[in-house]
Symmetry: C2
């Protein structure tokens, strides 16, 4: 805690992630405020000790009090919020976010931002299949990864402070990627897997299949319960990268399909041996 | 236990599943014997109280003692075993199996089988990513499904006895499907999901991705660790059905891909809403 010390945190957007950030930071003794659209979310967060105070209004008096402002909004709303209200930020404030796509967000914000405040992108890879501040739970960060995505515009001090936030929140690993590396990685590891789960679940009226379902189908489709407004926005923001990951997957899947059609056992077994070997790396952690 | 009572069980093939069957039945007080290729598996099973006795030889003296014979072998070996040794079965014996594909196995065995013994197919939908009798563990049946696949050739008595075995083993649900219904269902729920996991894992050298991997990728690829000789055999046995399930999945996946390319948000969101709604059914159990 060399850099972050005695700072006041503002969370903009009190949903599951914003609420969980608030909980973790308040529990560490920081003063945490919130701006969010619904008064009932603020009331809930205050009553349950997640925040010290909050507002449904965006005012200079309130926003200007905070040293660190964390945006937990949908991507488009986030960019608009900063566009319209950046004059309210305290000079020297650190701004960060939780958005799942980085390239299109980070550069846009940095390009328009005042020179006396700094934005460093961050992506907490944590979540739940439930929504809202009522489900806030800082323990979702415990085994999760937190990725900071700085650019050439960022200072070492602000990058380090943003990483420090990830450590304070209790993430298992805190790492650094360029926005482009982040979007490629997330396209493959997260967005592609969600596309697979959604497509698989859409194949059949599967209600009657529940009685026969083993763990494999259940595991593969857990993430098919998906917030359609948020994820469609994230998919579109990462369109080029996600399309290329989807095409890569489709080409591998087609390889296996064609090996089966041709009864090419050697090819099928080779693909299975590769997957078995590679999957082992993921057991170590 | 109206039908099965004081019966002696023979397990042919002491691997993970055969060993777990043996453990469950021995623990209930039944006399369980085993035939398997390796003496060390028999030694292990005896020393650990999974079986009363066992043999690496296939002899009439031994096989003829048993009322129920459960085959836990790979599909081709199973059919060959019965072809070569069916003269050794005790008259009136009930024969069953654990094979993951039913159509090509059940009819082949029933067509060649002696008239005074009866074969009823069964599929215990349970497993682990480890192999061998040393990993035998009857608790894998506890939350799992057991499916009996009778044909017109089977008697009510033998069907009921086979179901009773599933209940004795401790399966959560015991149900009945035709071999054809079974193979369609398993093609979709199990084989297709394994094809997806293998293809996804084969896409990239993913070792460097471990640090960024969230639960979704981990869950989707858990079953990418796969016994390549067994699964390639099962895929080929169910080739027609699996190809049709793979094509169905690919068409849905392509629908989502093309919606993304066309930036058709409504279509993407509709697919996500369907998957979310359908996946809810799987939470209830």
């Amino acid at each position: 805690m060399k850099i972050i010390n005695d700072v006041k945190f503002l969370i903009v957007g009190l949903g599951l992630i914003g609420g969980s950030y608030a909980q973790a930071l308040t529990d560490l003794g920081y003063e945490v405020g919130a701006i969010t659209r619904s008064q009932s979310s603020i009331d809930y967060a205050k009553e349950n000790g997640l925040i010290a105070h909050g507002s449904t209004e965006i005012s200079g008096d309130y926003v200007g009090k905070f040293d660190v402002i964390i945006f937990a909004l949908y991507p488009k709303v986030l960019v608009e919020w900063i566009e319209e209200n950046q004059s309210l930020f305290k000079s020297g404030a650190l701004i960060t976010d939780v958005t799942g796509v980085k390239g299109p967000i980070v550069y846009k914000i940095q390009d328009m931002l005042r020179d006396d405040v700094e934005f460093v992108g961050a992506h907490p890879m944590a979540g739940k299949e439930v929504y809202g501040v009522q489900n806030a739970d800082k323990s979702i960060f415990k085994n999760a990864n937190y990725i900071v995505t700085p650019t050439a515009k960022n200072t070492e001090k602000a990058i380090e402070a943003t990483k420090q936030i990830g450590r304070l929140l209790g993430f298992k690993t805190v790492s650094e990627l360029s926005p482009e590396e982040h979007d490629e990685m997330i396209g493959f590891l997260s967005q592609l897997t969600h596309c697979i789960a959604v497509s698989l679940m859409d194949c059949k009226e599967s209600e009657k299949l529940v009685d026969y379902t083993g763990d494999s189908f259940r595991d593969l489709t857990r993430i098919a319960k998906i917030n359609d407004s948020m994820w469609s926005e994230l998919f579109l923001l990462n369109k080029k990268e996600l399309l290329s990951q989807m095409d890569l997957f489709m080409s591998k899947f087609t390889e296996l399909r064609n090996a089966l059609e041709a009864e090419d056992t050697d090819k099928m077994r080779e693909m299975m041996r590769i997957s078995t070997e590679r999957r082992r790396h993921f057991d170590k952690k």
